[in-house]
């Protein structure tokens, strides 16, 4: 056989990898300590969670710095439990949507709406529900908090998984059909690996969003019930109630440390691992690196441990029905019958939707007057104006800065992780500082509370613009330089078209996040000082605190309509335009 020279070259790095079997023992030790510590921490946290609620009253959350690490651990555990639930939801619901056309008709629009609905408003309902489910135990409140985080994480993950399943490459699909893969093997061998890279990315985005909710959902007040679960969120809310600036700062620092740790210990390794599932036939120039991942791969014992695990996974994908059932080969229904079934399904869905609408109407109609709707609509407009103005301001500030950074690779490399970190840091932990300033300086809350809404979300614009500017091809920039493009012409013809698709993605995320943030940003407290701005967010927050479920429902419904309309009218067309006209092939 004749090998072309290119083939031989490709073999070399692989051979080097094989020889790396002589393992430094320090890697074993470090990896062992890290994993063992992790296991102990998880066990501790799980033990605490199942205690009765009375224990919580006996030993309430205190502002004792010694207990802060424990609180941080409990908060992190909630995050990961919610993430686990989101993954289960993703895999089942998205798979169902991709496999069944009828389920798809229902699930896809539902996911699309749930993605943009202010989930923070649901807290009232879920807390009541879960506390009823486990009366007298902490588990009920824990579940409510975890569910709140889940509702902030699941939808975009499910959506990305669904989209991956729908874009499985045709040739791989044919291979798996030609070899008669069982549905389970098809899932483990083809669908799951193919969906992994974008799922990992969405998990990271979800985690960033989740931190925001964990802070808001640990100290829950619904009507007369107030529960503070041990966690950073409760720590912060107590520190705010006591006007203890030092404790707030400590809480923020703890949060920052946790975010950096999970980024380094969980997400970097995950991204490095997911790189092998990227569907591309050429080796990428820059592979994502992660020191814990390298450490685990290098340590001899983790590899020998991983082998049986991998074997287990293979065995799992080998699973088959004990009796080989003949595949049910139903004759394809005739097109006419198919149309009739589709019609029936549509009628069924329409009936359920109409029933739901009627239920909502009768529930709200009995408790609210038409004037409420008008009031909520006006408040919605006020919040809309805030969101639009703030996104525009954030754009004016961050687009030039992002482009400047993106065009300088050395800077981009250093600043990109910081922008991503800032996006993950829940902005609500920073509110006390702003509120203290507003109170001290006697500023108008209608204006000065607004910036809090974009405090956490503006970074999405920044890091997307940085990514877009670094992706502008070098030859395009060189051509622009050769022809002396500068000033407005350069922005109009090079920079803005180059970053536009990225900017739209960032601004879409930022505006959605800002709507959500309005619920906590428009009405804030600092000890006994309570200030609020006129807006839909403050309306929902007040109704939640008062336990007025009808007004919460109305507020959330109206906000959802605003968000969805905003997405459809502004962001969708921009996204389509960017896809069609500005994609650099």
């Amino acid at each position: 056989m004749v090998f072309l020279s290119g083939d031989l070259k490709a073999a070399r790095p692989f051979a080097r990898f094989l020889r790396a079997g002589t393992v430094p023992s320090w890697a074993d030790l470090v990896a062992f300590v890290l994993l063992a510590a992790l296991a102990v921490l998880v066990l501790r946290g799980a033990e605490d969670m199942s205690r009765p609620l009375a224990a919580l009253h006996a030993a309430p959350v205190t502002l004792d710095p010694v207990r802060l690490p424990e609180y941080a651990l409990r908060t992190t555990m909630r995050m990961f439990l919610a993430l686990g639930a989101s993954l289960v939801f993703t895999v089942t619901v998205a798979t169902l949507a991709a496999k069944s056309r009828k389920a798809e008709l229902l699930i896809v629009p539902a996911l699309d709406i749930l993605q943009s609905v202010p989930v923070l408003g649901f807290l009232t309902f879920t807390v009541t529900f879960f506390m009823g489910l486990f009366p007298g135990r902490q588990l009920g409140v824990e579940c409510a908090a975890i569910f709140a985080i889940f509702t902030s994480q699941a939808w975009n993950m499910a959506f990305s998984f669904y989209q991956s399943l729908r874009t499985i490459p045709a040739d791989l699909d044919e291979v798996s059909r030609q070899f008669r893969f069982s549905p389970w093997r098809r899932f483990t061998r083809l669908e799951l690996p193919f969906a992994t890279p974008s799922l990992v990315w969405n998990v990271m985005m979800s985690m960033s969003g989740g931190w925001f909710f964990v802070v808001a959902s640990e100290a829950i007040t619904v009507g007369d019930t107030t529960v503070t679960l041990p966690g950073i969120g409760s720590w912060l809310s107590i520190a705010i109630a006591r006007q203890d600036m030092g404790a707030v700062a400590l809480g923020v620092a703890a949060m920052a440390v946790v975010i950096v740790l999970y980024d380094q210990l969980v997400f970097r390794p995950m991204v490095a691992w997911a790189d092998k599932f990227r569907f591309e036939q050429t080796a990428s120039q820059q592979r994502p690196a992660s020191w814990p991942y390298d450490l685990l791969r290098r340590a001899a014992w983790t590899r020998s441990l991983a082998k049986p695990l991998a074997g287990l996974f293979r065995a799992a994908s080998d699973l088959r029905a004990p009796i080989a059932l003949p595949a049910p080969r139903l004759p394809a229904p005739s097109p006419a019958l198919g149309r009739i079934l589709d019609g029936l399904w549509a009628v069924l869905v329409a009936a359920v939707v109409a029933g739901g609408a009627w239920l909502l109407w009768s529930f709200l109609g009995a408790r609210l007057a038409f004037a409420d709707l008008c009031q909520v609509g006006l408040l919605g407009l006020a919040t809309l104006v805030r969101v639009v103005v703030l996104i525009a301001l954030a754009t004016l500030v961050w687009v030039p800065i992002g482009v400047w950074i993106g065009l300088r690779p050395a800077w981009a490399e250093r600043l990109q992780p910081i922008a991503q970190f800032l996006a993950a840091l829940p902005a609500n932990v920073l509110f006390p500082f702003a509120v203290a300033a507003i109170v001290a300086l006697r500023l108008n809350p209608d204006i000065w509370l607004s910036p809090l809404m974009v405090l956490g979300t503006q970074w999405y614009i920044l890091f997307n613009v940085i990514a877009g500017a670094s992706a502008i091809p070098g030859d395009l920039r060189e051509a622009a330089g050769m022809f002396g493009l500068r000033g407005w012409q350069w922005w109009r013809q090079v920079a803005i078209p180059g970053i536009f698709p990225y900017y739209v993605t960032g601004a879409l995320t930022a505006s959605g996040g800002s709507w959500n943030a309005s619920i906590v940003a428009e009405a804030v407290s600092w000890g006994h000082e309570h200030i609020e701005a006129a807006g839909l967010g403050a309306y929902i927050a007040k109704a939640t605190a008062a336990g007025d479920s009808a007004r919460v429902a109305l507020g959330v419904a109206v906000m959802s309509v605003f968000v969805i309309a905003f997405n459809r009218v502004l962001w969708r067309p921009m996204h389509r335009f960017a896809e069609r006209r500005l994609r650099l092939a």
Binding site: V2, V175, F279, E280
Partner: protein, 437 residues
Amino acid sequence: MTCFTPIKTTAPLVEAKAVRHLYGKTEGANLLVLDNVDLTLEENEIVGLLGRSGSGKSTLLRSIAGLIKPTSGDIAFPPRSDGPTTVGMVFQSFALFPWLTVLQNVEVGLEAKGVRADERRRRALAAIDLIGLDGFENAYPKELSGGMRQRVGLARALVVDPSILLMDEPFSALDVLTAETLRTDLLDLWSEGRMPIKSILMVTHNIEEAVLMCDRILVFSSNPGRVVSTIKVDLPQPRNRQDPAFRTQVERIYAQMTRPDQAPTANDGAFPGSGLGMVLPRVSTNVMAGLIEAVHAAPFDGRAPMPDLAQALQYEADELFPIAETLQLLRLAELREGDLALTATARRYAEAEVDARKQIFAQQLLAHVPLAAHIRRVLDERPSHVAPASRFLDELEDSMSPSYARQTQRAVINWGRYAEIFSYDEGAERFSLDDPA
């Protein structure tokens, strides 16, 4: 040792009878890709399905692989004394799982059949060894060159011990040198009987490749796909491309593929549909101009045999045919018996300056492409001289699939823009008579 000799079976491996396949929606925009095709695959032969894109050869192959259920017709694997007939398939795009190593990719079919792990490993390693992939067992596909990837695809198809190896344009994604190496290796393995297979059925659009490898070639016409002739290649292996007998064979097939009586219906030749409903290929006006100039110039001087032309321009047959057929559609050239002859209009075009060329092209376009004339007429009639693209797209979709409609519209937009018979605004998706100046 067995005490008896099994009855030597002469049953063919595959018998496909009257296979017909329609693509598209159930009503209206159907496209007949395969029309009444018969195929019999005997033991110990390499059969090539040769035709242009859209001739349904791939559809036939996929029907035999069980990936497509043809609309009508029968594909049978007659019972044989040596067990049931099975197939293995090699894909044009290799279709390797990027997250699995070479070894895992090769094992994937055995795994699906439930073969035990140790036997799986043994058989996969044997196939890897056979196909020349030793040392690459633990590499991932993205670390390999195209040629090595297709070897993995080949090993994966062979390891399940199929009776028939199906290959869908297996070498067309490879560079010339790599493809030749792989062909030679495959033919060596075949002639030495080292592969477990009984026959090979391959799809190709490369005439030389078919003559080089196959014992029998089925030439397909396009739109709809039919077998227009079956050619037996008796040249001894290994075959030499420079051998005069080889060249004659290649030229005969070229002539076969350009015979005018192949056009099944009374439309303008190669493209499916007629009148407004004709599916137009996306052929750039630059390429048309280039081909006219090449045939106009020496040594062809207005008339060129297609094989020579393909060689001179370094095009493959299926790349050259759509261009030549577009020229034929515009009455700028004629395809006869494997020759491409320019018309008098085309010779004028070749000598003309840019603006005069555009005028000639515009005349031919309006006279012979009904869709272009139709768009122009609608624009002339409207006081605003503006019409949305969706208007014409809807009309096209009445007689063809949405993807063909889009392709046809793109083609007519490009030709119309060059001819300056109308202009098109991509952002607004609108035709108009505006002069961009």
